[in-house]
Amino acid sequence: MRKQDDLKQELEELSPLLHKLKAQENPFKTPEGYFASLPDELIARLRTEAHPVSAPVRPTWTDRLLEFLESLMQPRLAVGLATVAILVVTGLLLLRPETGNEATASEQLAMLSDLSAEEVNDYVTENIEAFEEEELRVAVAESGIEVEQTLPAIDLDSEAIEEYMEEAIQEMDEEDLETLF
C-alpha cells in the first residue's frame, strides 16, 4: 500500500463540513464478535463446499419407468418380442376376411416371407395402435406358440405392479398428473 496522500488537506480546502464530519465515529455497527468468528465460519464453509455431503439420490418415477422400458429392450427379450411380432402379423393376415381387391392370404404370406424379422418388428411397433387387442390375442393363440416359452418371464406379479404404480403416483406432482390426464 502506498503512503497516504494528503486527504486531510484536500478535504479542508474542498469542504470544511465534510472534513468535520469525517472526524465523527463510524455510525455503522456490526453484531458483537462478528469479525472474530468470521474466519472460522469461512473456513467451515470452504470445507463443506469442497466436500459436499450429498443426500442419496432417490430415482424418480420417470427414471424407474424408463429403466423398466429399457429392460424390455434387452437382447434376449427383444428377440422374443420380434418372434411374437411376426406371429401376430401372420395370424392377423390369416384371420382377416378376404375381398376381391386384396391379395389372397397365401399371396400375403408369400410377401411376408420376404420381410426380415426386424422389418416386421418395426412395422408392428409403429402401428401397434392399429391392432385390436382381441385380434392380437387370437393371433397369438392361433399360432400355437406358447408365449411363456418364447419370452423370459418378467418378475413382476400384479401386486408388485400395483405397488409400483401407487408409489409412482404418489411421487408425481400436480403438473405430472395434469399432463397424464
Binding site: 463540513l17 465534510l18 464530519l21 465523527q24 455497527k29 468470521l38 474466519p39 469461512l42 470452504l46 463446499e49
Partner: protein, 189 residues
C-alpha cells in the same frame, strides 16, 4: 486495524495461500489483515449488515479459490478491493431488479431505513450524509467512498478502476460539492 496486522506481509499471505498444504493458514492471515477493510468498503456500498456479510463471504470465498490468478501486477489490496467492489455492484444490480418500487431506491427511503437499522447509530447529519452519497451517480459514489472513507490514494484507485488520476480527482471534487450542497439544503434538528 491493529499495527501488527499492517505488518503482515502480502508475500507471506500469497506464498501460503498458493501452497495447498498451507492455504488455510494463508487465508486466515489474509482475513486478519484485510477482512475488516473489505467489510467496511462493502458495507458502505450495500448499507445493511446482513447484505454486507453475504457479499463479503462470497467475495472472500472467490478470493480463496482464485488466488492463483493474482499475478502480482497490481498490489494485493487493490486486487482484493476490485473483487469486493464487483461483488457489491453485482449484488446491488440484482437487488435493484428485484425491487417492486423505484421508491425503494431513493434517498428518503434510505434515510428511514437507516433510522430503523439496529446496526446504525449515527446522528441525523450522518443519516443525511449517507442519503446524499446514495444520490450520487454510480462512478462518483464509488470514488467518493474509496477516497473519503477508505482513504485510498489516487494512484491506487487509478490502478484499481483503470481511470486516470486526473479524472478521479475531478470525480471526487464533483462528488464532494454535491454532497455538501445536499447537506446544506436539508433541515437538521
Amino acid at each position: 486495524m491493529q499495527v501488527a496486522d499492517q505488518l503482515i506481509q502480502d508475500e507471506q499471505i500469497l506464498m501460503w495461500m498458493k501452497d495447498d498444504r498451507q492455504s488455510e493458514r494463508g487465508f486466515r492471515l489474509l482475513l486478519q489483515k484485510y477482512q475488516e477493510r473489505l467489510y467496511w468498503h462493502i458495507r458502505r456500498m450495500v448499507t445493511e449488515h446482513e447484505d454486507a456479510n453475504d457479499v463479503l463471504q462470497n467475495c472472500l470465498i472467490k478470493i480463496f479459490r482464485n488466488i492463483r490468478q493474482f499475478e502480482g501486477k497490481s498490489q494485493l489490496y487493490t486486487w482484493l478491493y476490485r473483487i469486493a467492489t464487483n461483488e457489491a455492484i453485482s449484488f446491488l444490480a440484482q437487488k435493484k431488479r428485484q425491487q417492486v418500487s423505484s421508491l425503494d431506491n431513493d434517498e428518503s427511503h434510505l434515510a428511514n431505513k437507516l433510522r430503523a437499522d439496529a446496526y446504525f447509530d449515527g446522528n441525523e447529519v450522518q443519516v443525511h450524509l449517507q442519503a446524499a452519497i446514495k444520490g450520487l451517480p454510480e462512478k462518483q459514489k464509488l470514488v467518493f467512498q474509496l477516497r473519503y472513507f477508505d482513504e485510498m490514494n489516487y494512484q491506487d484507485m487509478s490502478e484499481m478502476l483503470g481511470t486516470s488520476v486526473g479524472a478521479l480527482k475531478a470525480s471526487f471534487h464533483h462528488a464532494v460539492k454535491k454532497v455538501e450542497t445536499y447537506l446544506s439544503g436539508v433541515q437538521i434538528d
